[in-house]
Symmetry: D2
Subunit: 357 residues, 4 copies
């Protein structure tokens, strides 16, 4: 008999349900008796002992369902050790819930912040298995995260739709893609959507290079230009600022997001009006793409295997086309970023894409 706790934490994404279904199916199909405690709304559910007993039928038919049947919330790691507004010690509360329910292990699905807390719980002696969920694909220790390819599909659809209107009107368009610190999503959606310019946090941009590219396209007879811009795109000047200076600068920032600033500068330098489209949270939503369903199901099945073997303290990740277990201490607190010198960046440049550098 295994008593398994389960929670999804951080921004939701596609294939969370597929992954949980994978875990549960693989444990149940092994013939092992199981009790599943689903904690609601991320770590909050664990802290406040807010859970639902889940049965087989809760996981039936959810392979294709977006979101998470457990709900999610953001519980920032940097305040996890602070007491809550009623003075409750949150870490302590999580340990108590775990022990009170006599759980054998805790399955945690989440991204970067989630993994820091998961590692903390491991250090506190809990049996933890994690699954790498994020549309950003920025988790260290795994080549891929689920949610990523689904988000690429949605952001690409968006660029595709903008393409027809951009070409009809001969306009400059910016599609703002999710990603504050890491540009994988923007990079892939940008290439897939045939963007002419791609701006990602890892490659600070020079506005003049952007303008050059627009002018070059005009000179060649291309009436329109499409930019795929990550939320965290940053100019060369801003990239040179210290954290403090940058924070100071952003205090008086007048734009809703960086895309609008870039749009303004392009208008100023070229006289061309720029339209901005922000698909926003749609990038996290909807049914997972087949790639993510297969991937999340496989990860889930392997997590189930670890549980059956009693091997804890790992994230189930993907490296060199193999599903592997990665020690949590290797994952927590690290970010995987786009290498500006990587093959894909070079290839994108060979295709004529400008990164504004």
């Amino acid at each position: 008999m295994k008593r398994i706790g389960m929670l999804t934490s951080g921004g939701d994404c596609q294939a969370l349900n597929a992954a949980m279904r994978g875990v549960v199916k693989s444990v149940l199909n092994s013939g092992e008796q199981v009790e599943i405690y689903g904690f609601l709304d991320g770590y909050k559910g664990l802290i406040y002992s807010n859970f639902r007993m889940l049965t087989w039928s809760d996981f039936s038919g959810i392979l294709t369902k977006g979101g998470t049947i457990l709900g999610s919330s953001r519980t920032p790691f940097k305040t996890i050790k602070d007491p809550d507004e009623n003075g409750l010690d949150k870490v302590d509360a999580m340990l108590q819930t775990y022990h009170k329910l006599r759980l054998d292990c805790l399955v945690v699905l989440g991204g970067n912040g989630t993994h820091k807390t998961a590692n903390l719980l491991r250090q506190e002696g809990l049996n933890v298995v994690t699954l790498p969920k994020t549309i950003d694909n920025d988790l260290y220790g795994t080549d891929m995260t689920f949610g990523f390819q689904s988000a690429v599909d949605i952001a690409t659809d968006c660029i595709d739709m903008i393409h027809t209107t951009a070409s009809s009107h001969g306009r400059v368009f910016i599609v703002e893609v999710m990603g504050h610190k890491v540009g994988y999503l923007t990079l892939n959606a940008g290439i897939a959507g045939g963007a002419d310019i791609i701006l990602i946090p890892e490659i600070p941009y020079d506005i003049d290079k952007i303008v050059d590219k627009i002018n070059e396209r005009n000179a060649k007879g291309s009436r329109f230009t499409i930019l795929a811009v990550a939320e965290g795109a940053i100019s060369k000047e801003d990239a040179k600022l210290s954290k403090k200076e940058y924070k100071e600068k952003m205090k008086n920032y007048k734009y809703p997001s960086v895309s609008y600033e870039i749009a303004d500068k392009i208008l100023e330098k070229t006289g061309k009006e720029v339209r901005v489209t922000v698909p926003g949270h749609t990038q996290r939503g909807g049914s997972p793409c087949p790639y993510d369903r297969v991937f999340a199901s496989r990860l889930g099945a392997e997590a189930g295997k670890l549980i059956l073997k009693g091997e804890y303290g790992f994230m189930v990740g993907y490296r060199n086309r193999e599903i592997v277990k990665v020690p949590l201490e290797e994952v927590a607190g690290k970010l995987k970023m786009v290498d500006p010198k990587s093959a894909i960046i070079k290839e994108a440049k060979m295709l004529g894409i400008s990164f504004g550098d």
Copy 2:
């Protein structure tokens, strides 16, 4: 032999190409000899005699293609009689182009503004046939316009995707749908997407009613609320202002759009953070949906028939499930709006949807 001029004007939308293909196919299949002059970028092409001779092959394979192969631009009716920056009389220039090319007629695809200018050209003696294009479905004289259903599909997709993330996080979400003056698009996408609250220009909203609905849902255990908000949604107070007063007020408007204002007010009154998603120009883009392809093709075919018969001065429209010809003077300058007392509004209310009124 027919010499046909053709242009697409105003914001682009889906099925413009399908409609033009319909016109050209039906004329060519009649056996009539044809020369087709495609004016580029809307009325601008007619004004400045900027055109391309089009052949059969230009219309092959474009049934499914978004945008317009002729390009488009906005040429505001209210300045159409003013000379351009070089002193050129624009109306005069259009007449000259038409006569110089010895055109038999001009086929114009466009929305409200476009139809005013088309009617003006008719009054000046040109043979004009028009096709009703707009994602807003706000053209007078026709039950339906092409582009509308495709835009409904896209806006609904957007709400669908937001649904999974809204329910996972228990959040309030606003999806801002296109439509400055008319709410058909928001109304239909809102019902199709299962929005809980729909705000359209024709039904001014009371912020307290919106808050009531959100609270009522919470009380019933629904963790999230989704609002479909038209760009032109307006509060009861603002709706009472005179045009001048409203303009004055908007001068210092601090929000990028009305959705952000509503989001702010909801936060203020409920303490709930609200996320705003703006699909924007994607609603005009991409391949037309099958409904629009059939509809635009049929309208195009009937326009071709009018041309063959030499019957001019009409918009080809759709009324009571029949394709009809509507005199341009009946169409021009009028807006078709959602009737707050119409059956669909009542039905939506029966479904539990709040209009904030």
Copy 3:
């Protein structure tokens, strides 16, 4: 207090759930107390008193869900008066279930066969309200049925995908679209997908006319030809046979379906290999399109209104853009078919589409 029975009968289609949700929401939102008895698998559930009590939450989140939460089955009208294999009188059993549960009314969602049985139950004194469900749009008394537009979307997608491979290989392709007796679905998907030849039951085809069209396209340089063929497409010779003669002929029919016969004949007469694609039951599946969601929700809401008023014996239909109640006796046993002389057929021909006639 209303005690409402509900069932879905016949082949399933999209938006059944949306329609039922509409009925239930509109009744519940009226403030009326309600008990909902969901009979499982169509009339079978009513016959064998197999039902589930449904609550509000059963209808939450099903707007976008394909299929039917009640299950369905085909209960042929022509055997409805025959006793079942255990000698049970089926009609009698249905009446007994109805009365035993003291139902106020029965809501029935279905197509042609379903309506005949519904009308029979009405004649037997039951309070019946029906909703027009079918991908064939062949129900008499309503301009539109839900499921139809969703099926058009899927069949069109299929033709779109075949287009790229057909043009790459210069091949003749047949896409077989659902519809044994009525061609609306094939007609609309064919036009939307840009099919070159459309064969529907209402317009018997001449194989030589089909071959002519293929040759004509080749002569013009079009390397490929796409046929949208209804399951019930019929040749002019077969159309002349009496029912008996036709049945006799079909006894030894060697093809899986008519498309394969047509493919064979084209090969014989042109030497061109023809590929057949049969999307089959996919045309009934998946999430309803936005059009169907809105339409089914509206019909459901109006059905709810009839129930609240106690007006029974009607199908809720759609005529001239208005939702209307149609007496069941007007609907039952009649088929709505494509008129070969209708405007849409003429327009399709103007677009160059051949119907093989």
Copy 4:
């Protein structure tokens, strides 16, 4: 100055255009002068010197376009050395075309058969670079081929749509997925679509195991069962036959395809009617998915790089997440198959999926 010949051979698939665009963009962006000879309809174009000079604009806007702008055809390798019907030596003719046009190299996009011929041309002294195209992902020497993920998406969509109708009617459904010899496509679409049983050529099935699974599901209360069956699925008995015996057996095969045979046997053994859906060529069609667009673009760019460096005799492949050059002699004539002992098969079984073994 580079004179580049280019052709696409074998069954078409998604992202052929994206890959060619990648090659051409990367060569042109290098500043090198280029002449591009596009041979039409695969090797046929090279044999009969049937080509079109391609310019930059031919490759603009084709990233998202399905099919191949060059056309394709199957030219079986086993007859490549035989003279054609007019006595022409085909290999010789290809060499002549190549030399007559003074080509620097030949870029060939294709699958298994195509690579055998490409290797032959290399042996005959031509400079050849190839790109791995196939929806089957069965090319030796590369972890992935373009077209595969797009086909997975389409086949999965098909299973998704069947799911709603299968569950509504409580039926057994077979979705027949492309793949005569190799099961990657069926395997991935099956997992992604939540199929209960997956049959692939690499794992011969036992019909009784299939029946057991169906009965087991019924016993658990699951009303329906979905099988994803590869075109080349084979029973244990048939797998034991020699090639000759098997051919003999298939001479009198009465089914259109193996799915219908399996359907028949299930009916016989369970009394359950089984519906078969064959998405067929749709799996090769339509716009490439974002994954394939990025992947094909990257491969194309690297092929361009090889051309610029004058490195020939390679397929551009993908191994361990790196794009690599693979000597053609290593690729030609080998098949990559699903290993029945691989991790993904084990994981699928952990998820409860039966392979009928």
